[in-house]
Symmetry: C2
Amino acid sequence: MTTPLRFPAERAASPALAERVYAQVKQALFAFELLPGERFSENTVAELTGASRTPVREALTRLAREGFLTVQNRSGWRVNDLDFALFDQLYDVRTIVELAAIDRLTAQIDPLGIIELAALWQVPPPDRLSEGSAVFLLDEQFHSQLVAGTGNLELQRIHTGVTERIRIVRQLDFTESDRIEATYTEHAAIIKAIAQHRASEAKRLMHSHIELSRLSVQKISLHRLYEAREKSRAAQTAPRFDSTPATGGFRSPPLEPLLEKPIGGTCHESS
Amino acid sequence: MTTPLRFPAERAASPALAERVYAQVKQALFAFELLPGERFSENTVAELTGASRTPVREALTRLAREGFLTVQNRSGWRVNDLDFALFDQLYDVRTIVELAAIDRLTAQIDPLGIIELAALWQVPPPDRLSEGSAVFLLDEQFHSQLVAGTGNLELQRIHTGVTERIRIVRQLDFTESDRIEATYTEHAAIIKAIAQHRASEAKRLMHSHIELSRLSVQKISLHRLYEAREKSRAAQTAPRFDSTPATGGFRSPPLEPLLEKPIGGTCHESS
DNA sequence: TTCGCTAATCTTGAATACAAGTTGATATTC
DNA sequence: GAATATCAACTTGTATTCAAGATTAGCGAA
C-alpha cells in the first residue's frame, strides 16, 4: 500500500486560491512583516503569492472589512495603524462576550468542556509550558473554548473575530515569564469557579483577568512594537509571504506612523 | 449662483459599483424578491443590475460572509434557508449586547441620547405611529441608539450585523397593532428605567422585551412567510432589483425548502 | 536653491476572456 | 418503458485587458 504522495506543498493551491492569499497576508500582518502604516499594491501581493490580482483583491477586501487594511481611493493599500482606543473597545467587547459565556456555562448542569480545560490548566508549575508562543496559543484556545461551551456559534464567531483583531498586540504579552505564570493561576481559578457554578465569582475573576491582560498589553506593547519594527526593518529584503522572493514593497515604505496617535506616554528605547 | 445640476440619479453610479449591487441584492432579500432556497447565477444578477460580474461577485461574496448566501462549488449561488435555530442564537447575542449596553448606559451620569429616545417613545397613544413598517424602522433605531450610547463602535458594528441578520423575520412582527402597542409601552418603560439609573430593572425589562419579540416572531413568521412567498410568486415576472427588467431566474426556481428544517409545528394556511 | 508645472508611471475599479467543472437534457441500450 | 451513457450548455474561479485617476520624478523658471 505505498501511495505515491504528491508534493503536499502544491496541493495547497487547490482549496480556494483567495483563501490561501488571505491566510498568507494575515500571517504576514501578525508577524509584523507587513508593518502598520505600510503601503503596498495588489500587484506586489500578487507577485509574492503567485496569484493573479483577482483572488488577491478578494483577500484584501476581506481583510479590509475585518479592520486590518484600508484601500485608498486609486492609490494603493495600507496597513491600518495600531489604534489603542480601538483595542480598548475590542477588549470591552471581549469582556462582554466572555462574561456572558460564563453566565451560560455556570447555568449548565455539567459545563461543556470544562473538564478538558481543567486538565490543561490546573497543573502543577513543573508541568506547565514556559515557551511564550505556545502559552499564547493555549491561552487563545482557553478563552475560545469557554465561549464554544455555550453552544452558540454566532457568539463564537464574534468572539473569534475580536480575538483576531487584538491578537497582534496580545501576542506581545506572552514573553514575560511572570505574565505566563499569572495566566496559569488565573485560568485555573476561573475554571474552578465555573465548575462549582459560582457565576459571579467566575465573572469577577474573568473580568480582572482580562483587565490585567489589557493593562499589561498597553504597558508592554509600545516597547515591543519598536523591537518588532526594528527586527522587521533588519529583515527588509528577506523573504516575505512564506518562501517567495521579495521584490521589495512600495516605493517609500513609511515606517514613521505605526500608531494612530503618538500616545502621551514616553517610550523607553532599550538604553 | 445657479449651478447647473447634473442628473443626480446617475451620480449614484460613481460611489462604488459593488456597493450599489450589494445594497440592491440585500434589499431584494429583505423584500422576499429573492426567496430562501432560491438559486441564481452571477450573470443574472449582473444583467439585472447592469454591472459586470466582477463587482457582482464582490457583493455576493460579502453577503455570503454575512450569512445570507452560499456559493455552491461550481454550480450557482443560493439564498440561505431561514434557520430558526440560528435566529435563536442571534437573538441571544442581541440580548447579550443590549443588556451590556444598558449596564454601561446606566453607569453614565447622563445616559447618552436617552432624552432623544424619550421624546420619540414616551408619547401618548394618539401621537404614536401606527404604520407597521414605520414603527419597525423606529424600533430598529431605538435598539441601535441604545448601543450607540455606549460609545463603543465595535459593539455597535456587531449589533448592526446581528440586527440585519434577523431583520428578515423581525420585519414580519410589525403588522399586528397589538404588537405595535406593546412595543411603545415596553420601550417607554425601558427608557424610564435607564434614565433613573435602575440598571437591573432596565435589563429585566429589556430581556423580556426581546424575548417577547422573539416568541412573537417565531409564532407569526411561519404564517407570514407563506404569504410573502405567495406574494412574490405572483410577482415572479415582475421587476426585481429596482426597476430593471427581469430576465427570469434560474432554470427551476425551487420554492419548496424555504426553511432549514420543516419545523414541528403546524402551519395554518389562510383557510 | 526652491517652487511649480508636466508628463510618465503606477494604482485601483471594472469589464472581458479563459479554464475547469457541474448540471440537466437527450439519445441509446436493454 | 426504464435505466444509463453522452454531450452541450451553463456555472464559478481565475487571469487578463481596459479605463480613469493619483503619484511621483524630472525639468524649467524664478
